[in-house]
């Protein structure tokens, strides 16, 4: 039992939440002491987000009590949660790009809070110094990097004197150096008595920073542990059960012949806050995975769109497939030549939400299923069934709508669909983002199998560990520039991390000052 001289900051007692067809939280009890950094772990759909939404007042539980500083409370809305001193940083930030930092922060404060603070900008500067957040109140949000924006979100919680900070996968968008900085902030907060609830998929981070961890599976608490006494492997086992295989090191391969080339590709941004591509060149070889690291928003989306042809601008000679220029071809024609893509957004781009899996198979895989312009639905249906079985996609059947699948399962389906076309070149963005450990393993193995068949794979990811695990050669993007490409064995997380922050740009002699 807990020590009697200390009152828990937050205690959840038997929280239960039933959604139609799914028991999201089943009798969950957790307690957090002041200053405790507590990890909440579990696969997708284990009930983590429902639980934190309950704490933050977005979801009201069917049963169970919430005890805050020793007194039972009912948190009906996020504003009540904020009044209690609960702050939350969501995975997707909610900042207005066209406003400054202090304007953004002002927006979520009440009049009385503003009066109590006095000069907001000064308060931000002061807090910024205190916690090493390095947030300038006068800068516009669109000019901030993702890491800086996250610090603005944290600042937003700090100005309201937060006692419990909830972070939903905070590190998935950061460079390793930024992660280290974030952890320093969290440690300072913790020393001052602020409790932190930390959701993550990255287990080594949990063992590094968290005091305690609660592991959820199927809506229930299956285990609590002290992460420092565990290894990432043993925690992973608790999360997925004993059946899970572990991602071990995979053999690195050296590609044979050059398949796909990007030559001196420069392209101005299409969107106002987009990234221009600056003189990008690289080569994809048959039987090899090229990993591109980078914080989101540094040109990955633009690069993918121009390679796939979704960006319809003509860059004829900048893209070649087997020595033929393809930069002027329509996206559909590029697919016919053997290109395939796994996009970052699964629902709404990689798959049509309201269509069945059968229809979503036809979305990109029409080869052999169209006879004289007519769709051979029975064959697609059969093929979809084999895809579902082969990639262990959890769903009711081939008739299930794409939106009814969990993110990980839909990703397995999309991955299977693209790989099933035996592409020569696969461009794959963030393949395991938000995907649980079991599904990630399946996706990794599918990618490696495709590589071993002789395909060339471009793997764009924010997950550095994944890149080191899978990529045979590596590079990083920053602000639309591509770093030198090196063999994975000859680099390390530190160097790639520095490249992600752009250190290669100034040291690079042929940098032509294209940055505007």
């Amino acid at each position: 039992m807990k020590r009697s001289n200390l009152v828990s900051r937050l205690e959840l007692v038997s929280i239960t939440k039933q959604y139609p067809g799914c028991l999201a939280n089943d009798d969950i009890s957790i307690s957090l002491m002041p200053g405790e950094i507590h990890a909440l772990l579990g696969e997708n759909g284990a009930g983590k987000s429902t639980l934190v939404k309950t704490i933050y007042g977005v979801v009201s539980p069917d049963k169970g009590d919430i005890i805050w500083d020793g007194r039972e409370v009912s948190i009906k809305s996020p504003s009540i949660a904020r009044d209690l001193g609960i702050g939350m940083v969501f995975q997707h930030f909610s900042l207005f790009e066209t406003l400054t930092v202090s304007q953004n922060i002002e927006l979520c404060l009440s009049k009385t809070q503003l009066n109590a603070i006095g000069n907001l900008a000064e308060r931000i500067v002061q807090l910024s110094k205190e916690y090493g957040l390095n947030v300038n109140p006068d800068r516009y949000v669109h000019s901030l990097s993702i890491g800086e924006r996250q610090r603005v979100e944290i600042m937003r919680c700090l100005v309201q004197s937060v006692k419990l900070l909830i972070l939903d996968e905070p590190t998935s968008v950061l460079t390793p150096q930024e992660v280290a900085g974030l952890f320093d902030v969290l440690r300072t907060l913790s020393k001052e008595g602020c409790s932190i609830l930390f959701i993550s998929h990255k287990l080594h981070e949990v063992t590094e920073i968290c005091h305690k961890a609660t592991i959820l599976r199927g809506g229930r608490v299956v285990e609590t542990c002290v992460p420092q006494e565990e290894t990432p492997a043993s925690i992973a086992k608790m999360m997925v059960g004993d059946l899970a295989e572990q991602d071990a090191g995979y053999a690195k391969k050296i590609g044979t012949k050059s398949l796909f080339n990007v030559n001196c590709l420069s392209l101005p941004a299409k969107q106002p806050f987009g990234t221009s591509l600056k003189d990008i060149s690289f080569e994809l070889k048959s039987g090899e995975i090229l990993g591109v690291a980078g914080v989101a928003g540094n040109g990955q989306d633009e690069l993918m769109a121009i390679i796939s042809g979704e960006d319809e601008r003509d860059v004829k000679n900048s893209l070649t497939l087997e020595d033929k220029a393809i930069g002027h071809l329509h996206a559909g024609d590029r697919r016919k030549l053997g290109m395939a893509y796994v996009p970052e957004e699964r629902l709404g781009r990689g798959a049509v939400p309201d269509m069945s899996l059968t229809e979503n198979t036809l979305l990109t895989h029409s080869d052999g299923f169209i006879k004289k312009g007519l769709v051979d639905w029975p064959s697609i249906q059969k093929y979809t069934e084999t895809l579902i079985a082969k990639y262990k996609v959890k769903c009711h059947g081939e008739f299930s709508e794409a939106k009814s699948l969990s993110g990980g399962n839909l990703q397995k389906f999309i991955m299977g669909r693209e790989i099933g076309q035996n592409p020569k070149v696969l461009i794959c963005a963030h393949p395991t983002w938000g995907v649980d450990v079991g599904a990630a393993l399946a996706i990794h193995q599918a990618l490696l199998a495709l590589r071993d068949q002789g395909a060339a794979i471009l793997l764009i990811s924010e997950d550095i560990d994944e890149l080191f695990l899978l990529a045979d050669r590596m590079a990083a993007v920053c602000d639309g520039h591509l770093s030198p490409v090196v063999k994975t064995e000859s680099t390390n997380i530190d160097q790639i991390g520095q490249w992600m922050a752009g250190t290669f740009i100034n040291s690079n002699n042929d940098f032509k000052g294209a940055k505007s």
Partner: protein, 355 residues
């Protein structure tokens, strides 16, 4: 307290129920309106909705009106499925009537068996040209299709009026703005001796079946649906937005053009200024009432044709102004959109006082 709450999933029940509910609400509204102007609501609704189906002559007339509505609505359904907001069926219909009539007048002394097919093709081609210009403007200059198609409706109307006052006017017509009566060789054959039902209704039903076939059986139809449901996915899959835009617009233009030429070579038999009582606009409502499904459009077109017929009868038998038809159409569209709101939203009844 009643609140509006977003549904987690669109209600499939509401998708079907919404048009039926909208019709019921429209009738209730109509009943109230008729009693307000001192007419018996039951008699008025009877004349509007039942009388058009009461005898074989009326049923025949109903099918005559259903033809152009359905032809336009099938084309529009495909356009709207592909997110091409074509409001120009009326103009395409008028262009078809004009082009077809010009050809029919060329054959005015002919007895050739090819005269009718060539006349129909001329109407179809004119409708396609009228759809092609706004499509070109949209794809080339990114102009707003809604605006350009509406403008082209007016251009077509005034072009037609100019033609019947000028080059196509009947020289022996005592100056009336009408063309000469077409030769029998260019008139659509009627299906029964006793009624004006002509081949146009066969074209219309056929177009519904073809539209259904395209959407559900062909790869092109699948691509159209993906474009409407999820444009980023369509671009990701590499479907050509240009090709599909051309396809649906030309298809819609062809059907609307056919509707126009079928009117002039069918029940009218000559080119007159008022070829269409707004079929191309009403077809928009038919398309939505039919849930943008070609087969659904057949049922919706019957309903709308009944309303057109009923409006005529109500004027003759009860002295109710024929404008009541337009009003019914407007109210119907209003209720349909309102009911459609509840496909994605629902009312939540909660007692806020206890919270």
């Amino acid at each position: 307290m009643i609140r509006i709450q977003a549904r987690t999933e669109p209600s499939s029940m509401m998708k079907i129920a919404s048009p039926l509910l909208a019709i019921v609400l429209t009738l209730i509204f109509g009943g109230i309106l008729f009693s307000a102007i001192g007419k018996s609501p039951t008699q008025a609704l009877h004349v509007l909705l039942i009388a058009p189906l009461a005898d074989s002559y009326n049923i025949g007339e109903m099918f005559v009106k259903m033809g152009p509505l359905l032809l336009c609505a099938v084309g529009l359904s495909l356009c709207y499925r592909a997110n091409m907001w074509n409001i120009g069926a009326e103009g395409q219909l008028l262009a078809g009537a004009l082009g077809g009539s010009a050809m029919a007048l060329y054959f005015v002394d002919s007895e050739s068996a090819f005269a009718l097919p060539i006349t129909l093709l001329a109407g179809i081609a004119s409708g396609m040209i009228w759809a092609a210009i706004p499509t070109f403007l949209k794809l080339k200059f990114n102009s707003n299709l809604i605006l350009t198609t509406i403008m082209f409706n007016y251009i077509a109307l005034y072009l037609l009026i100019w033609a019947v006052h000028g080059p196509l006017r009947d020289p022996q017509g005592f100056g009336f703005p009408e063309s000469a009566m077409f030769s029998d060789a260019t008139l659509l054959p009627t299906l029964f001796d006793s009624s004006r039902i002509h081949l146009g209704i066969v074209f219309a039903i056929l177009s519904g079946v073809i539209g259904w076939f395209i959407l559900s059986k062909t790869h092109l139809g699948f691509q159209i649906q993906v474009f409407g449901a999820d444009e980023p996915a369509a671009r990701y899959a590499g479907f050509s937005s240009k090709k599909l835009s051309w396809l649906v617009m030309l298809f819609a233009g062809a059907l609307a053009g056919l509707a126009g030429v079928s009117e002039t070579t069918g029940p009218i038999g000559q080119l007159v200024p008022n070829v269409s009582p707004g079929y191309g606009y009403s077809a928009i409502i038919v398309a939505y009432l039919g849930r943008l499904h070609p087969i659904g459009a057949i049922l919706a077109a019957i309903f709308m044709a009944v309303l057109y017929m009923g409006g005529d009868l109500a004027q003759i038998e009860m002295g109710i102004p024929v404008a009541v038809v337009s009003m019914f159409q407007g109210v119907l569209l209003f209720f349909l959109l309102a009911c459609d709101f509840f496909i994605n939203n629902r009312l939540a009844f909660s007692n806020h006082a206890t919270n």
